[in-house]
């Protein structure tokens, strides 16, 4: 059997039903095998679009995404999605073509050292050196991508090896002597954590994307409801705890709510679950949560005590640990009354500092209102992807996610151009769902080309561009911290997004009236096929509240 045909068998054995990619010289054999393999292949317009689509697919479904590119530029175009998947722990297998082995190291046509270039940004990578290694390498790649802390795995296959004949036998086991993630939390540590929690008077559950990856949302809610424990989520954790819930404090961090950030600031015990104390969460590290002790639950031991020393570390899978922590906590029968004072304090912050903005008097659309309108138009029941910038923060603040895997964005790397292809991948993975993308006039232009992919393949996504004519977040920082010296942030009103949508075979709409916005958005969502909506919003609006970079949470502004 040709090695590439064995590759197809391996993909099918892994349950792969769709891949995103773009062919070239070095992966022609693989594409020949796709011709009749019975695996859906979506031809993207740029490899980066394919990579982000695979991420969107993985984030929406929880399954491993697959993206393909050829050697050289095909692989280098995948570098951004690979790094993005690494930062946000997204399980994606990247299959790259490589030049023939006799050309390796000779600067051959379309040769790039893909393994070398991607080494710092992968969970693992495998360079194929013998065609008989291919089946095992593919299964190892999927196993590593999906287990433990998920992440990207690159498999680089030289063209001549991929067309070689190999004896193929299904691989049923994966042997990796250096890889054994700890999933069971230590019982003594869990018991200690329960005791600490039972004695805390000002506890906060600080929840990250790890709870989404672990599919541990239900278990989290059970722990929180065991005793009215307050919950806040990171940008990537949104949806792990319901966005409408009495114990929900809102997102924390740079553009989080005051209630969430002040609660962290005054907490005596913080339970971090699948979160990694990123600088956008902690602000000034030395002044972060100064009164708190930390319980840190994470499947990646290297995250524990990386930025903030943990008092009770628990390494393992949140889905395994949280129910045991809840049981231990319940068994202690903690005094519920001890949290009353804490809730009075939190309720005070919630009352005094709700998320707010000054709405316009006339038809002008404030960007925050545009998100509220989208929330209303979708009934809160859409998978929402986003690009990176102000619109992303407003999306995180004003759209309330009821469940995990409903909010898909680039959190760690902050990749502009992520949103549209991610929506494409999410829609392919969840065809029954409404999938919308919140974008900006800057971000959308970074992977706009995939709109044609959507039209061609009937991938029905609805893109809402909050168009303010600026690189809005950069402009905001220049306004606040650089004396309003607006340098290289103004884009004006080009391109014409309606015409551009039409050129891609999609429907283009331009909205500028607040009074009809909800209705107009409903109509856009009901329009068949991909729709690109240019929402004209206030040009100079800032995201608030804000912890200025290098400041402490208690000094939030706006």
């Amino acid at each position: 059997m040709r090695a590439v045909d064995a590759l197809m068998e391996c993909l099918k054995a892994e349950g792969v039903d769709v891949v995103f990619g773009l062919p070239g010289g070095a992966n022609l054999p693989t594409y020949d095998a796709f011709y009749d393999a019975g695996i859906r292949h979506i031809l993207v317009r740029h490899e980066a679009g394919g990579g982000h689509a695979a991420e969107g697919y993985a984030k929406a479904t929880g399954k491993v995404g697959v993206a393909l590119g050829t050697s050289g530029p095909g692989a280098t175009n995948l570098v951004t999605p690979i790094c993005d998947a690494m930062m946000d722990s997204v399980p994606v297998v990247f299959l790259t073509g490589q030049v023939r082995t006799e050309l390796l190291g000779t600067d051959g046509f379309q040769e790039a050292d893909t393994i070398g270039i991607t080494m710092p940004i992968v969970k693992h990578s495998i360079m194929i050196q013998d065609p008989r290694e291919i089946p095992r390498a593919i299964h190892e790649a999927f196993h590593i991508a999906r287990t433990g802390r998920p992440g990207p795995v690159v498999v680089d296959i030289p063209q001549d090896l991929s067309r070689a004949d190999i004896p193929y036998e299904p691989v049923t086991d994966v042997r990796l002597p250096g890889y054994a993630p700890t999933t069971d939390g230590n019982q003594k540590q869990i018991r200690l954590a329960a005791k600490a929690l039972a004695n805390a008077r000002r506890p906060v559950l600080y929840v990250g994307g790890g709870v989404v990856s672990a599919e541990a949302s239900t278990e989290l809610i059970e722990l929180a409801e065991a005793d009215r424990l307050p919950v806040t989520c990171t940008l990537n954790g949104l949806g792990a705890f319901p966005g409408v819930h009495a114990q929900w404090l809102g997102m924390l961090g740079m553009h989080g709510t005051r209630a969430a950030n002040y609660a962290m600031d005054e907490a005596d015990l913080i339970v971090a679950i699948g979160a990694r104390f990123d600088d956008r969460i902690t602000g000034k590290l030395t002044e972060f949560a100064p009164h708190a002790k930390f319980i840190h639950i994470d499947i990646d031991p290297a995250e524990i005590s990386k930025n903030i020393p943990a008092h009770i570390p628990i390494v393992g899978d949140a889905k395994n640990i949280l129910p045991r922590l809840t049981a231990e906590y319940r068994a202690l029968g903690p005094d519920a009354g001890r949290l009353e004072e804490w809730w009075r304090r939190i309720d005070g912050w919630r009352e005094r500092h709700p998320l707010s903005f000054a709405d316009s008097d006339g038809p002008e659309i404030k960007p925050q209102y545009a998100i509220q309108a989208l929330y209303e138009a979708t009934g809160g029941e859409a998978i929402v992807t986003s690009d990176v910038g102000q619109h992303q923060m407003w999306g995180a603040q004003h759209y309330h996610f009821p469940r995990p895997r409903r909010w898909i964005n680039s959190g760690g790397l902050g990749t502009m151009g992520f949103g549209l292809p991610a929506a494409m991948g999410a829609k392919v993975g969840c065809p029954e769902e409404t999938v919308v993308c919140i974008s900006g006039d800057g971000s959308i232009q970074m992977n706009m080309q995939e709109l044609a992919t959507c039209t061609q393949n009937g991938i029905d996504i609805k893109v809402f561009i909050l168009n303010n004519g600026y690189l809005g977040m950069v402009r905001q920082w220049q306004e606040l911290f650089w004396d309003r010296r607006y340098s290289a942030v103004e884009k004006g009103q080009w391109p014409d997004f309606v015409k551009l949508a039409e050129a891609h075979g999609a429907t283009g709409l331009r909205l500028s009236d607040k009074h009809t916005l909800v209705e107009d958005m409903r109509r856009a969502i009901a329009t068949p096929g991909p729709v690109l909506v240019d929402v004209q919003v206030t040009a100079e609006e800032n995201v608030y509240p804000m912890i200025a970079p290098g400041s402490a949470a208690r000094d939030m502004v706006g």
Binding site: P309, H311, A331
Partner: protein, 185 residues
């Protein structure tokens, strides 16, 4: 910790943070890794990326052809060693890491010294070589090449003593180490 459900008092004040502590001493890490291309690059790349400084690094085969041993020494006053080992453990090709206890470890390094030694000074240099149980491996009219094996401290002491004679060149292998006793490192 007692049995589940027992209501022992646990005061939050008594909890101490673990980890991220600088040990203040030199550490020898013995890594067992898969003998595959690129593994060393992954390790050195990780050190560079995370800003960890390597003092010495020695790589070689083991009794099992599928495995290599990498011995790394680094300064625990500068780096949180537990963060270094945890990051190394994340590399799939790294099978085992041991942070060797100094008291239970045999560490050796080999060094070659090329020392200017002509006429009257030669005998003096040879005297030092004798005392250190070192070996002269090359002799020419104006220089000797000396092989020294031993602990890092011994090699550094030797260097200090021969430097005044005119140290033309010195090369060192970096330390390799095994645990004392029967157990495998």
């Amino acid at each position: 910790m007692g049995e589940p459900g027992t209501k022992e008092i646990l005061s939050l004040e008594d909890l101490e943070a673990a980890g991220n502590l600088r040990t203040g001493r030199r550490h020898i890490l013995a890594l067992t890794v898969e003998n595959k291309p690129g593994v060393l690059t992954r390790i050195t790349g990780l050190f560079a990326r995370r800003g960890f400084n390597i003092d010495t690094l020695a790589v070689g085969p083991t009794d099992d052809p599928a495995l290599s041993r990498i011995t790394i020494t680094l300064d625990g006053a500068v780096h949180p060693i537990d963060q270094v080992t945890k990051q190394l453990h994340k590399l799939i090709n790294v099978i085992k890491i041991r942070d060797l206890e100094p008291a239970d470890t045999l560490a050796r390094e080999l060094a070659l010294f090329k020392v200017a030694a002509d006429g009257p000074t030669r005998a003096e240099v040879m005297g030092i070589v004798d005392i250190f149980r070192a070996k002269i491996v090359d002799l020419s009219k104006r220089a000797v090449v000396i092989e020294v094996t031993g602990t890092r401290a011994k090699i550094e002491a030797f260097e200090q003593l021969v430097r005044p004679f005119g140290l033309i060149e010195m090369v060192r292998t970096g330390e390799i180490a095994v645990a004392r006793g029967r157990s495998e490192t």
